[in-house]
Structure formats: C-alpha cells, structure tokens
Amino acid sequence: MNPSLFTSIGSIKLARPTILASGILGISLDVFNRIYQAGAGAVVTKSLSKEPWDGYPNPTIFGVKGGGWINAVGLSNPGAPNFAKMISSNKDVPIIVSLVGSIPKDFEFMIKQFEDISVLAFELNLSCPHVAKVGLEVGDDPDLVKKIVKTVKSKTDVPVIAKVGLGTTNYLDTVDAACKAGIDAITAINTLRAMAIDVETERPILSNKIGGLSGTPIKPVAVRCVYEISSQYDIPIIGCGGISSWDDAVEFILAGASAVQIGSAVGDNWISVFDDINKGILQYMEKKGFSKIEDMVGRAKKF
C-alpha cells in the first residue's frame, strides 16, 4: 500500500502534515494560495489583533551565526476585521486563523469577524515573546488561559488550537489549563526570548531589543516539549520549532506531533521547503513500511 501524507489533528483533517507557521508571509490570500500550491497542508495567518498593528520599527529580524533567526516584528497585522474581509473569497486554502489578545472579550470580538468565513481552525497565540500584555504574558497566566479558551470554545464550533511557548511559568501548566478548558489541540513551541548586540556600535540590534529565537537552534527544545506534552496529555499536537528538513519533521512526529509547522526554513530555503519535506516523509514511510502518519505519531515514547 502506498503511504499517505493525510493526517488528523483531532477533528482537523489535512492532506499533508506540513503547515506554514504563524507570522510567516501571512497577510495576503494570493500568497496563501501560492504556499498551498507549493505543498503546505494548511497555512496559519499572522496573529491578528482587534485593531491593525504596525509592529516595531526595523531592524525586526537578525540572522544568527550558525543558523536561526531572532525577530521582533511586533505582531504587525491588518486587524481581524480587515483580514476577515481579505480572506472572505477563499475557496481552496485550508486557513488556520491565529489570534492574539489580552482578555476573553478580545478573542470573542475577533472570532465573530470570521462567523461567515470558512476557517479550518483558530490558533490562539499564547506565546509571542516580544509584545507586552499579549502572547506569552497571557500564556504565563494559566487562569487567564482557561478563561480565554472557555470563552472561545463557547463562541465557535471551529476547532481551537493553543500555541504555547516557554515563558516564566511552567509551560505544562498552560497546556494543562488549556486542556481543562476544552482546547482541541496544542501547537508547541513558539520562539524563545533572545537578543543580539552589535559589537561595533555596542547596541542591541533589534529595535525592540528583545526578540524571539527561531530556526535550527531551538529544534531540540521543541522536540522535548512535544515529547513531554504527548507523554502527559491525551491531546493532538502540532510540532513547531526549527523544522527545515524531512527528518526534522519525522522527529517531531515520533515525539508525538500529528503535524508540523514550518517558519524560519522558508527564509532559508524558500517555499520549496514544503514539497521537499513532504517528499522526504513519504520516502521515509515507504522505507519503514508506514502507510499512515498516524502510525508514526509518538512512537519514540515506547522506549
């Protein structure tokens, strides 16, 4: 039997397990179509807020020696209402809408904008490490996470994913709160709080000084987190963090992820990265005799 790249993240069904991560290229429906055609199983939008946000001044990104990026774009986005209008004509692309806010009401308002629009899932950004009062600051407060997830779940039938990261509280407490409030899936992890200083000018490089580290350097941390969540909770997981090749993707699947998100590798390898990874996973499945992604999920846990 030919292996299939089809995968389920709970009730979310994907033809391919490679997803465009939030924050990457996510502001134009035409670009989403292109990325979907290039092989992504779904795309996650930039994190949307209630109002349009300009983000931080440049420099907003920096290439790290040895690989990876530090960014503090500052969640620039056109705002949920504008964005909903922009994707309202979408017919083809499975779109996961990422949302960022501070209180349950913010999320309630934004979910409402997408009432009449076909959306594959919502992903709550509980982990952006470089914007005040949202993202990781929310994720670090498990009680608030519980309230937000409960509110969102009561307002929509669309599956809801929580994207968690490593902040100042144990991220597993955030996962626990989200699971108890009825979350449908977890994306782990986001970028890690980081910074870079230019030695000639003696200044922090990013305009926000602190940013988030992504790419190859954070992959082992992300694999560990997926493995830990998978070991302790019966919840579908999307792995995210430094995936740039098929074997990285397989590693996350073996750790317990049902799908993976790809971000920084787009900057390094451009959008052919989706097709390359899909093909590599298929070849691995053929070689190993796996017919379904599902059969590979979490296999490393048996040891």
């Binding site: 134009s28 300009d54 020696k65 056109p78 451009w270």
Partner: protein, 272 residues
C-alpha cells in the same frame, strides 16, 4: 580583526564620502568588498543605528572596492540615513534580490528620482556595441542628478541621455512616459528597463508591452525582513524581496496590485 561576514547579519560600514546630488538627494560612499560587486537591481537592508533599517538599491562607486547609497530625504528613516556624516557608521545586510536581465542591441532605460540607482548600475553591464537611451525624470531643474554620470558611463556607446522636467526648467518639458511614448513610435527597442515611482513604471510597462518590447521593472515595497519571512512586501502572490525586485512586464501586468496598491506597515492595501 573582522567579524565573519553573513548576509543576514549587519556588517558595519563607515561612511567615507558624502556627495550632495540635489538639495534633497545625497550619495553616501563606503568601502565594502561584497556590496561593491552586486548585480543591477539587488538591494541591501541598511541600518541607521538607533533609528530604523530600510531597503536600498546599491549604488555604484567609481572607486574600486567601494559601494554607495543614494538617498532622498523623505520620511524619518530616509532622513536619518541622509543625515549620516563622514566617519559615522551604518549597518548593511545583503545583497538580496534578483537582477535585471542583460540584453543587447537597442536599449531604453526610463527612471525617475532615486529609481535611477539600479539603472546607473545596469549601464555598467552593457557592452560598447549597445545603443543606449536613458530618459531621466525630475520635477524641476535642481532635482536633476546623474545626467553627467550616465553620459560618462556611456561614452564608448552610441547613446542618448534625455532629461525631462515636469515644469520644463531643464531638458525637455513633460513626463518621462510621454517622451518614451514618442520615442517608441518609430523606434523598436530590444529591451526596456525602468525604476522609479510605481505609477510611472506601470505606464512604462504598458507602453513597452503594447509595442511588443521586452520590459523589466524594479519594484519597491515596504520591507521588514528582506528575506522572504515577514511577507510585508508582497504584490499579490509575489514577494518583492525574494522573487524581485525585478519583474518582467508580462508578470507585472497579470498582478492586480501592480500600479494600483501597496501595503502599509500593518499590511493593509492602500491606493497609490
């Protein structure tokens, strides 16, 4: 003692020379063995420490091993770069982007303002047998620059440098596109290259395409990352930083945003 070069990290360069081109346009020259050799149309992300970082087409320098940026003071960031003095430092990363396709024969270049920068670099890639016409536009006489530079670079070629000012205070009166339109009525060019305000480029692309001539334009968009991650610079499904900045006429005419809209910092489309 040099920090290892990486195109995605800023390399710090000291400004060695500042040349006033017009009352609002300056060229900043610095030594850099990477940016001195870029292709026509390629750009760098230029950091003004403490202020901002902006995409700039890399200007040639007549001196070996040197590169330059030609900047018009306009907003906060461009004004900060404009005001950098000799001895002060900027950071550069890149080069990024593709480049103009080098054609031979009868070549037409149409540029306005600092859009002339990649066109001037392009001139250095032509061969002496090429017959080159360059039309450069400005609002008024004291905003004309690079006319002598273009003439010098083309002194071995059959060539024509046409200056157009909107108020007629220098050269021919009118828009570069009007002059192009007239020229193209009895001359078929083997290639047309353009860089400048998008409405001008849109017209250049339309004229060239309607005459069946090969045309390429260098686009500008708000950029944050410059490397195909943030998506700020998209024109429909294209990323100016990664797929461009150079696009051919056929591609551009198939994009509803070209010549009509660009995105602001929040990613919202705004009309030109």
């Amino acid at each position: 003692m040099v920090v290892q070069r990486n195109s995605n990290r800023q390399t710090i360069c000291k400004i060695e020379k500042v040349t006033d081109e017009t009352p609002t346009v300056r060229t900043l020259t610095f030594s850099d063995d990477v940016l001195c050799n870029v292709l026509p149309g390629q750009f760098a992300m230029v950091w003004v420490p403490g202020v901002n970082e902006l995409p700039m087409s890399v200007m040639i320098s007549p001196e070996k091993g040197k590169a330059a940026f030609t900047i018009r003071k306009y907003g906060q960031s461009s004004t900060a770069l404009y005001n950098v003095k000799v001895g002060e430092s900027i950071g550069v990363r890149g080069p990024y982007g593709n480049s103009f396709t080098i054609k031979k024969g009868k070549l037409l270049l149409v540029g306005g303002g600092t859009g002339l920068v990649p066109l001037i670099r392009l001139l250095t890639f032509f061969t002496p047998t090429d017959d080159v016409t360059i039309i450069m536009g400005a609002k008024t006489k004291n905003e004309v620059f690079f006319e002598d530079y273009a003439n010098r670079l083309l002194d071995k070629n059959k060539h024509q440098v046409i200056v157009a000012t909107e108020d007629g205070t220098y050269g021919q009166k009118g828009l570069v596109t009007d002059i192009m339109d007239k020229l193209c009525q009895d001359t078929k060019f083997d290639a047309v290259y353009t860089c400048g305000p998008e409405l001008m480029m849109s017209k250049v692309v339309s004229i060239a395409t309607s005459k069946g001539m090969f045309v390429e334009a260098s686009l500008e968009r708000m950029m944050k990352c410059g490397v195909g991650i943030c998506g700020s610079c998209c024109v429909n499904d294209l990323l100016v930083c990664k797929d461009g900045t150079i696009f051919d006429g056929k591609t551009l005419l198939s994009k509803s945003e070209f010549g009509h809209t660009h995105r602001n910092k929040a990613g919202i489309l705004e009309a030109y």
